[in-house]
């Protein structure tokens, strides 16, 4: 079987437009910037989300609004130092996957677990919440 082919920026943009017709992805030669609104469940807030995808890198997801509430010490679970969301493990996303079928719902799911974390102080999204974090986290390879 031939290896899955990388999707083009245009294909990614088309995918996002088809599911979020009100949103406007901004397209560059090898870069896509999508801003959209996500509400993970009917009881949740509506969040403005920005996904930036540069060919050759993992998509970067940030929440623009409302501001996420970190703990007093600045801790937010499953985020990187730059406040972008940690949505997947190394190798779980690849360029042949549609962002709209992966990164977008993973972000919605992140937001759901985040709101529950705000209420309970526990991240119940996966794993044993008290479990040691995998050491491979800090060295996700570039694509």
């Amino acid at each position: 079987m031939a290896p899955a082919r990388r999707l083009t920026i245009a294909q990614q943009a088309l995918g996002l437009r088809s599911v979020f017709p009100d949103s406007r992805p901004v397209i560059g030669r090898d870069r896509l910037c999508w801003t959209g609104r996500l509400q993970p469940c009917e009881l949740s807030r509506i969040y403005t989300v920005k996904i930036i995808y540069t060919v050759g890198r993992y998509p970067v997801t940030r929440i623009l609004d409302p501001q996420l509430s970190a703990t007093e010490t600045g801790f937010l679970p499953h985020t990187y130092n730059d406040q972008s969301l940690c949505l997947h493990d190394a190798g779980q996303w690849a360029e042949h996957m549609l962002i709209v079928d992966t990164i977008v719902p993973w972000t919605a799911e992140w937001l759901l677990h985040y709101e529950i974390w705000v209420a309970t102080g526990e991240w119940l999204g996966d794993q044993d919440p008290g479990a040691e974090l995998p050491s491979h986290y800090d060295d996700l390879p570039a694509l």
Partner: protein, 386 residues
């Protein structure tokens, strides 16, 4: 803020309320334990242990058990111990003492679970880890037309009182028969088990009663003796119940209509026992107007608090925090875990989807939803992005 009901709220509330209930493991343990009590009392009274000697009454029989908020979530299980004897051949005090003697023998025999025995005003209490059995001594009511009618002693050990917890439970189950039948069918279909026991079904009426009892326990924390009795809440809720539906809607409707079923006669308030109309469940309000006032104030507050859940509007976290205020931390935690796990498990099965245009996550792919094509893990905290 607009008020709305939603599947998410029903789910959250349902999983929250489930934490108040007895688990099936606890149920089978309790049944085993009171089976042993029945055998021991049968030996003591020299009768047949299978002849309806010891049986559950109250919330255990109604399916409305609500963990005790003020006693580490302990479960109270109410039992009737019916001695086969005519009332002419004993007295209230003798029946009570003799039942106590039988239970003392039971405890001294070092039974499983290592219970201790305590005397209450009308009943005896066997304490086990996590739950206790309240054993109410009773005699058959031989003059009544119903086989399940019993007589029990009053608190002063002076008069026989008429009671029929079995008939009451039958009435309660009759009120919600349609919903039980519908839910049994759904379970049977899903599990392909032919005979699903009734207790595996929880109706919106039972869930509402559990929510109200817990709300009452929290509301009356500072003056527990002012609490309206569970039987009053259960009876009024059953009258106000108009059949199944979405949990939140039913809870809201029942809470709204309940006070309207408190009646008045020339002397005061009446909540009649539906199977024994001469019995007034709010007899203890007589001459104590503050008790009636407390009841009406409480139900108004419950209504406002449950309304508040759907008006929260500030995200899932706000709803969960409000649920903790209204029902306690246990239900709030259970609801949170249920929701998170539900999403994760659906995703692991490859069945997660979301609504186009909004991102609302769903368990099944229906029109207008987009399937999530890949599984993933949220790994890591606070590292540098690669």
């Amino acid at each position: 803020m607009t008020r709305f009901s939603s599947q998410a709220l029903d789910e959250l509330l349902g999983t929250g309320i489930r934490q108040l209930d007895i688990t099936s493991a606890e149920r089978s343990l309790a049944v085993t334990r009171y089976g042993a009590v029945a055998r021991s009392l049968a030996a003591h009274w020299n009768t047949d242990p299978h002849d309806g000697l010891v049986y559950p009454q109250g919330s255990m029989r109604l399916g409305t058990i609500t963990r005790n908020f003020h006693q580490n979530d302990e479960i109270d299980i109410d039992l009737v111990a019916r001695r086969d004897q005519a009332k002419e051949s004993t007295t209230q005090a003798d029946l009570k003492t003799d039942t106590g003697l039988g239970l003392e023998k039971f405890v001294l025999g070092e039974p499983e679970g290592d219970p201790t025995l305590d005397e209450g005003k009308r009943c005896w209490t066997l304490h086990y880890t996590g739950f206790h059995l309240d054993v109410l001594p009773a005699l058959p009511n031989l003059t009544a037309s119903s086989d399940s009618a019993i007589i029990i002693t009053d608190k002063e050990m002076l008069r026989w009182q008429f009671s029929n917890p079995v008939a009451y439970a039958d009435w309660f189950h009759g009120v919600m028969a349609k919903e039980i039948e519908e839910k049994l069918k759904i379970i049977a279909k899903r599990t392909s088990i032919e005979e699903v026991p009734d207790w595996q079904v929880k109706t919106t009426l039972q869930q509402t009663v559990q929510a109200l009892k817990r709300h009452r326990d929290i509301y009356f924390t500072e003056n527990l003796d002012q609490r309206p009795a569970s039987i009053v809440i259960t009876t009024l809720a059953a009258h106000a119940y108009r059949g199944g539906g979405d949990l939140y809607e039913v809870l809201d409707d029942i809470t709204d209509r309940m006070p309207g079923f408190v009646q008045r006669d020339g002397q005061g308030y009446v909540v009649a026992n539906p199977v024994e109309p001469k019995e007034n469940f709010v007899d203890r309000w007589k001459g104590k107007p503050e008790r009636a006032v407390a009841f009406f104030r409480w139900i108004e507050q419950a209504k406002a608090d449950f309304d508040g859940l759907s008006r929260a509007g500030g995200g899932l976290d706000t709803v969960i925090r409000k649920m903790a205020d209204v029902l306690g931390e246990g239900p709030a935690r259970n609801a949170s875990q249920g929701m998170s796990r539900g999403i994760v498990e659906t995703r692991r099965r490859g069945q997660l989807s979301y609504k186009a245009g909004t991102g609302i996550l769903a368990g099944t792919s229906v029109t207008g939803t987009r399937r999530v094509t890949r599984d993933h893990d949220f790994h890591g905290h606070h590292g540098a992005r690669p």
